[in-house]
């Protein structure tokens, strides 16, 4: 079976701790996602997402605090505005915009985190490997 490679950019305060909560509760999810910690989802520039696809990632996840709960008060507002534009950019360059997923996971939402990972992994698994689509 095709095992997709997925990179998740997670904010340090909500989503990364949400991932830790899932671990503390021993919830199980597929191992395809490798997490990279950033201070705020607002740190994630369009270039970083594109660069990750260039490296051959089958999917990219951007997770941040819920709107209104950002540790930096409004950093994730930028994410909420920026990522739809990045999706448009992906579409323009011929990359299926569904390969980029943006979601909000709080530090307490281990269960939600697990479901987000499971659903996204399944979705990406159902797509052809990214490198093949770029040939």
């Amino acid at each position: 079976m095709f095992e997709p490679s997925i990179i998740g950019f997670l904010c340090n305060w909500c989503s990364y701790r949400g991932a830790d909560s899932a671990g503390m509760a021993r919830m199980k999810y597929p191992p395809n996602v490798k997490i990279i910690r950033v201070p705020c989802s607002g740190r994630i520039s369009p270039e970083l997402v594109l660069r990750t696809f260039r490296e051959g990632a089958d999917g990219v996840m951007v997770l941040g605090c819920h709107i209104g709960d950002c540790h930096y008060s409004t950093g994730n507002h930028r994410t909420a505005k920026r990522m739809p534009i990045v999706k448009k950019l992906l579409e323009y360059t011929g990359i299926d915009p569904d390969r980029l997923m943006v979601n909000w996971v709080s530090a307490a939402e281990g269960e939600k985190f697990t479901n987000v990972i499971k659903n996204f992994t399944e979705k990406i698994r159902a797509m052809p490997p990214f490198v093949e689509t770029m040939k």
């Binding site: 095992e3 490679s5 990179i7 305060w13 909500c14 990364y16 701790r17 991932a19 830790d20 899932a22 671990g23 503390m24 021993r26 919830m27 199980k28 999810y29 191992p31 490798k34 997490i35 990279i36 910690r37 950033v38 201070p39 705020c40 607002g42 740190r43 994630i44 520039s45 270039e47 970083l48 660069r51 990750t52 490296e55 051959g56 990632a57 605090c65 209104g68 709960d69 950002c70 540790h71 930096y72 008060s73 409004t74 950093g75 930028r78 994410t79 920026r82 709080s106 530090a107 307490a108 939402e109 697990t114």
Partner: protein, 668 residues
């Protein structure tokens, strides 16, 4: 690559080693990552132990390591531990990186082979990243020794007194007219049956008269800016319409006030107060407030009875809200709870059946200073009940409302049963799911209740109804409950039902969390930094939480947390200055085009525009290192130290290469 990198893989007992083949991982790192600069890779049972840390220090000294990677638990747990170990051995702490192979690998992955592969990918990512990390030096900022305590219940009172007694200045903000909180409303405290007010009011008095405490009642925090050591807090002092500089608290105003208002707050709706009032006689401060929404003068333009009779001329109808700003170094939140509203469980009849009472209403009924002078009577104000049912877990341990246990309801219900017995001699039925009496003296109290003859029925109350089925049920409230110990449905005809309501987060808990930069659990309680080892600190440095705002707890636990938070704050004040995050943003002036995108994206106004140069400039003391500016910079001229593009790309590439190599191996 000229860096010499050391990789340390932790077993964490069997927490990691039970799922990840740690020996294989460390061998793999030594061989496969040699080209990336790894000169030593070890696995060890507990890297966080002193022996584990010494292993790192020794290698830094003997092997001349220039970078260190530890693959273990979450950096939220042990990043400071290993950074300190590096620093002790003379290596800049920012040349250390952690791979989270416990919370995000061994604990969440079932397949051992997959977990081992994931660990390798995460370690490769960390090794790749660490090579690009730069030494950073943290700024030290002085700590303002003044402290803000928000919430004047028993927790806030305890915290404020501890700090004030040590000689530091405290601002205590309370939104009601008096401090005291819920504890001031209670009659007795379990299990000792001390009179609640008798043990609380001396502490309130101490707060009111303490030279180091500035008491700001009838006030609310509006804005919090700054960071640990240097917060600027904006507080709204609501108009009291009383000149507190001349008021003596004599009480003539509320004696003469003709307007009676149902007191929904302190008397839980059972009693009345005047439009000018103090919530209770021992209120601190002693000054009343005028309730603008109910005052006849504010409604109709005439009356002013209070002003006519005030002997010192303290009534001031022109009083305005006052906005004040204070500077503090640390903040303790003790904002408490709201009672679960039992109207949300319509089958219990609260609000529809008059003789169904909430726990807080019962406290006021039983309180000698309450509206009935301590007589336990039905809603008509005269009839003494002959039988009383107490429903436990109202709104708690119930998926439809709150799934958590409110921690105090069992003991509170036992206390109610005792008081009803003692004061009325009525038959008492306690309907419970489980009896939870885990603290000192609590189970002894339960045994005492059993001896007193209280009936205990194990079963959650299904319904309270006034519709009789038999002649004995005429004119009674009937409690329908399944007695799960005898396996039968029972109908208990009683005169009074007390709902032992659970504790809920403040209705405005989201606003509180947002104001102070904290997060809430799914239930709405404020989240502590670590549930076991750091229960009063939060993820926002300099902001502490204590008491029920952190989760349901009883008075002794709240007092302990109040004191604990005070101790944490005092230890910070004692340091005099504190290290702040070194990972701040920096502008490369050679390529900055002065478009100001970063300035508009910064949540902290930490970036200014240098008009002489036409460039952006970051103020390091204000920057909190979120990196939102980096994400929005169009010319890639601004970067965030410790989270630079090349570091994040290297980390991503490291993980991707390993993942891809495993894929190719499988295909082959």
């Amino acid at each position: 690559m000229t860096e010499k990198i050391g990789v340390y893989v932790c077993h964490c007992g069997t927490n990691i080693a039970g799922t990840v083949d740690v020996e294989d991982v460390s061998k793999w790192a030594a061989e496969e990552l040699k080209s990336r600069g790894v000169v030593v890779a070890r696995d060890y049972k507990f890297m966080c132990s002193s022996l584990g840390q010494e292993l790192i220090e020794k290698d830094i000294h003997e092997q001349g390591l220039t970078r260190v990677v530890v693959a273990s638990c979450s950096p939220h747990l042990h990043e400071p531990t290993f950074r300190n170990a590096c620093a002790r051995a003379g290596l800049n702490p920012y040349l250390f990186e952690m791979a989270n192979i416990r919370e995000q690998d061994s604990w969440v992955t079932t397949d051992k082979v997959e977990a081992t592969k994931k660990a390798k990918a995460l370690i490769a990512a960390a090794v790749n990243r660490v090579a690009y990390q730069q030494p950073l030096n943290s700024l030290f900022v002085p700590i303002d020794p003044n402290v803000l305590v928000v919430g004047g219940g028993i927790t806030g009172i305890q915290a404020a007194l501890e700090i004030a007694n040590s000689g530091q200045k405290v601002y205590l903000v309370e939104r009601e007219p008096s401090i005291g909180g819920h504890m001031a409303q209670f009659d007795k405290t379990f299990p000792t049956l001390d009179c609640s007010a008798c043990i609380l009011t001396p502490k309130m008095f101490d707060v009111g008269n303490h030279k180091n405490i500035t008491l700001l009642t009838w006030s609310e925090v509006e804005k919090v800016e700054g960071y640990i050591g240097n917060f600027t807090v904006t507080i709204r002092k609501k108009a009291r319409y009383i000149d507190t500089s001349v008021c003596t608290g004599c009480g003539v105003c509320w004696e003469k006030c003709p307007k009676k208002v149902v007191d929904d707050v302190f008397e839980a709706g059972l009693g009345k107060r005047k439009a000018v009032y103090t919530p209770f006689p021992q209120a601190v401060p002693k000054f009343p407030v005028i309730d603008r929404e109910n005052c006849t003068f504010f409604l109709k333009g005439t009356c002013k009875a209070c002003q006519k009779f005030c002997p010192t001329g303290a009534i001031n109808f022109d009083d305005q809200d006052e906005i004040i700003t204070i500077k503090v170094g640390n903040i303790i939140l003790a904002t408490g709870f709201d009672l679960f509203d039992p109207r949300r469980i319509p089958q219990y009849g609260y609000g529809r059946l008059p003789n169904v009472f909430t726990s807080l209403e019962f406290e006021r009924l039983s309180n000698a200073a309450g509206p009935t002078g301590g007589k336990i009577v039905l809603r008509d104000g005269v009839t003494v009940p002959k039988s009383v049912a107490i429903a436990h877990c109202v709104g708690s341990r119930d998926k439809n409302y709150n799934s958590y246990c409110s921690a105090i309801c069992c003991m509170q219900s036992l206390k109610f049963a005792h008081l009803v017995h003692e004061k009325t001699g009525a038959e008492v039925y306690n309907c419970y799911i489980d009896i939870r009496t885990p603290a000192k003296g609590y189970d002894e109290f339960y045994q005492r209740l059993l001896d007193e003859g209280t009936h205990f029925i194990r079963g959650k109350v299904a319904e309270v109804t006034s519709t009789p089925r038999t002649p004995e049920e005429e004119g009674k409230l009937v409690v329908q409950v399944e007695d799960t110990l005898i396996g039968k449905q029972r109908r208990l005809p009683v005169d009074m039902v007390i709902l032992s309501c659970g504790l809920e987060p403040r209705r405005d808990h989201h606003k509180i969390a947002h104001l102070f930069g904290l997060s809430c659990s799914a239930d709405g309680w404020l989240i502590e930094r670590h549930p076991k080892l750091d229960p009063v600190a939060t993820m926002t440095d300099g902001v502490f939480i204590a008491g029920v705002c952190q989760g349901p707890k009883d008075i002794p636990a709240s007092v302990a947390q109040g004191a604990a938070a005070a101790a944490r704050v005092l230890s910070i004040i004692g340091q005099g200055e504190i290290q702040i995050e070194a990972a701040t943003a920096i502008v490369d002036e050679t390529s900055c085009v002065g478009c100001t995108q970063c300035i508009s994206s910064c949540p902290y106004q930490a970036i200014e525009f240098l008009s002489d140069k036409g460039k952006a400039h970051v103020n390091e003391a204000l920057c909190k290192g979120c990196g939102t500016c980096v994400g929005s910079c169009l010319s890639k001229s601004i970067s965030l130290k410790h989270f630079t593009d090349e570091q994040l790309v290297a980390e991503m590439v490291g993980a991707m290469q390993v993942m891809k190599s495993f894929q190719t191996m499988e295909v082959a």
